[in-house]
Symmetry: C2
Subunit: 184 residues, 2 copies
DNA sequence: ACCTTACATTCCACTGTTGACATGTCGAGG
DNA sequence: CCTCGACATGTCAACAGTGGAATGTAAGGT
């Protein structure tokens, strides 16, 4: 259901064709809500039929430029303010953690260390992004910066957690291994 | 694709029927990989046909107890060690942040503060869980504790970020509002 | 004139997930 | 003996998301 709001949100800045929209998904929203072409065009049709968007202009190559309607803007505002936030449910990463015990301690530590490395890599990537983009005062920049900061904090947190977890596993394996005659 | 590994993982501890499995999903895995009954039974059939599981015993009421096979265990290990981790892509929360500018600064600050509250609430809930469960030395407890710590760190990070973001929005709105005659 | 690249839309097949519905059996307590 | 709750499996329709193929037009360079 979020795709429609992503589209309404992008169109609230300025009108665009499906093609334009795709590019904007690829640049600004890749990291928060990727979408494919089939999805975008399909949803564009539905939203127009529902009156949340309208065809503002037609151009060459059958280009249809869509603009958000008052109704669409109201819907978007409603989503931002009233709609129930759905909490993050699935995490493949944590699912793996749950079953780490079927690996040897060494393998588990390796896994967790790799995760830490990957997080560090992503963190560095975001840092680069921060340096590369010239952050203006336009709304997209302002909000993008907030989201970026979230990414930065998330990756830092994840890296620390993974290193901590690796340590835990290591210690546990030492304790369980060193004293062969430990009580039950 | 992760559902199958969640099931293999649960069955690697001990055999279970579809019904048993459902309960174990609801208890231990609700927060990392929820599953519905239709999914579980469907996947159970597929996994059995693929030779990753086998019907170890049959009981009353048509009960079929599934056990993981050597092949299934190998597949699970492979997933844990070799399989490419897919990184977190979608975040409804960050999508909302991207479009916060269509709200008034006050509304945006309210939204972010509410998010902070919610994160704090979930953090408290996890703390309670930590206190309530008697954490043994069994593998499920050990790994569960690692995942729980992740949840704790995540919710703490998110709360802090949301408070920080609210502050940013507030400051920006003051700067843009207070000095009516500010240059461009 | 020709060719390539960018623009632009539409359709389709497949997988994963949800939620509801259907169907039935066993065991325990009244 | 009977009924109710727990046990137990299965099917279906719908939707969201993925990836790719098909189709074609306009513009720019050589």
């Amino acid at each position: 259901m979020s795709l429609r709001y992503a589209m309404l949100g992008l169109l609230s800045e300025r009108p665009a064709s499906g093609y334009d929209l795709m590019k904007r998904f690829e640049t600004s929203l890749t990291n928060v809500w990727p979408a494919t072409q089939s999805q975008v065009y399909g949803e564009l049709g539905k939203l127009a039929k529902a009156g949340l968007l309208e065809v503002a202009a037609e151009g060459p190559r059958g280009r249809k430029e869509y603009a958000i309607t008052e109704e669409g803007l109201a819907e978007l505002r409603h989503w931002l303010t009233e709609a129930p936030r759905e909490r993050m449910r699935r995490s493949e990463a944590m699912l793996r953690v749950f079953f780490l015990n079927i690996l040897t301690p060494l393998e588990a530590v390796t896994y967790l260390s790799t995760e830490a490395e990957r997080a560090a890599g992503r963190h560095a990537g975001l840092k680069e992004l921060e340096a590369a983009v010239d952050w203006g005062d336009d709304p997209l920049s302002v909000n993008g910066r907030l989201a970026l900061e979230y990414g930065l904090r998330f990756t830092a947190m994840y890296e620390e957690w993974a290193r901590w977890a690796a340590e835990q596993v290591q210690e546990k394996s030492k304790r369980g291994n060193g004293t062969t005659g430990d009580a039950n």
